[in-house]
Symmetry: C2
Subunit: 202 residues, 2 copies
DNA sequence: TGACGATGTTACCGATCGGTACGTATGATC
DNA sequence: GATCATACGTACCGATCGGTAACATCGTCA
């Protein structure tokens, strides 16, 4: 019967088999971010992951659920980067923020930058009912609270206004990074943010 | 009303007068903006417009071309609003800009706001080869030049940096408007922009 | 070994996608 | 009335969409 399944030249290595669910998840993360969720079919995901469709649906139930899982991963990665910048400048919220902004501006200038996966998903699925959009909105609200707390710690006269401004700059960088290429408005993110912070904390 | 826009820089138009074409175009403009281009099928467009598919393809050639036409209309509407704000404050670029920003913040707070159709399209179609994306990128570059000129007119120490900051705030407002509802960061757009302008023109 | 549950695979579904071949109605002109 | 061009509709195409039923394989433990 099976002439080759036990000695498949490609997938034979029995040393450590990454679970199909994990491969699907990481593949979906890359494809969804790079091309958009609507643009990627489940067929391409399982093909790139080297598995098949039922494997996907036993682990995720639907494409929408997989998209939500992708955004949960994306959210987690975001906070890892954010907390790294925070940890790099203990007790100095302005430096923490500018550190993160600097890294973001760098990433936004790289070719293939596609903005924020969470924001992009809300653009792709306007209705707030989509499971992935709920993840996005929860993330953005959490970030807003965090920025407000940092603005307070900076001694801003109006922490909410400063936090609003910082979040506008963030979202603007996400969009500008993929609208313009290397030398877009995102290059000025740190300078502008610092100017805004200083003007708000005088 | 015989004055027709004679030259279109981006694409060739049928330029004549099939009646169905107009209904298709305005229907597509509403549906594409509200739901996104990928989310709307040509079937739904012609159905809502009360016509049939061949009528669409006789006037537009492809869905992508129709999307590009939608964005050209969107671009034109943008500049109408922008020039209205400019005309309202002759010789005062700061007031011109804050006027436009005020109107934008108002719109961004309304329910059903979906951000910038041009930006959204780039999010939906990452590749720069899409005809609609070319329209978007041309628009954004033109806007950037305009903002830089206004920043110069304001006497900014670094006009490019101020223009970058203003464009970041713009794009951030587009995104935040649909991410958050009524009381999102977009509410602080004018205050933040004014603060940034003042800090850049001292 | 042999039974069993978990996991992966083959082959397929109905629905919808963008797009088109071809016939029809109408109005102006000869 | 015959002709022709314009504008629109009917019916359909192959491809692909998200999703699923039924079968094959593997690891585990008795």
């Amino acid at each position: 019967m099976a002439t080759k399944h036990s000695s498949d030249p490609v997938h034979d290595e029995p040393a450590d088999k990454p679970r199909a669910a994990e491969r699907i998840r990481s593949t979906a993360r890359e494809l969804f971010y790079r091309e958009g969720i609507r643009a990627i079919g489940v067929e391409q995901i399982v093909q790139d992951a080297g598995v098949t469709k039922p494997s996907l649906y036993r682990s995720y139930g639907s494409k929408d659920d997989l998209a939500a899982a992708y955004l949960r991963d994306y959210d987690a990665e975001f906070w890892v980067r954010f907390e790294q910048s925070v940890a790099a400048h203990p007790g100095d919220p302005k430096a923490q923020l500018l550190d993160y902004f600097g890294g973001l501006a760098e990433r936004a200038a790289k070719p293939g930058y596609r903005g924020c996966g969470l924001t992009n998903t809300v653009v792709e699925y306007p209705g707030a009912d989509h499971p992935a959009c709920k993840v996005s909105q929860a993330h953005k609200r959490k970030l807003r609270k965090r920025l407000t707390a940092m603005a307070e710690a900076m001694g801003a006269a109006s922490p909410e206004t400063l936090a609003d401004g910082l979040q506008l700059l963030l979202e603007g960088t996400y969009a500008s990074g993929q609208l313009f290429g290397r030398d877009g408005p995102a290059r000025s993110l740190v300078a502008v943010a610092e100017r805004l912070i200083d003007a708000s904390c005088g």
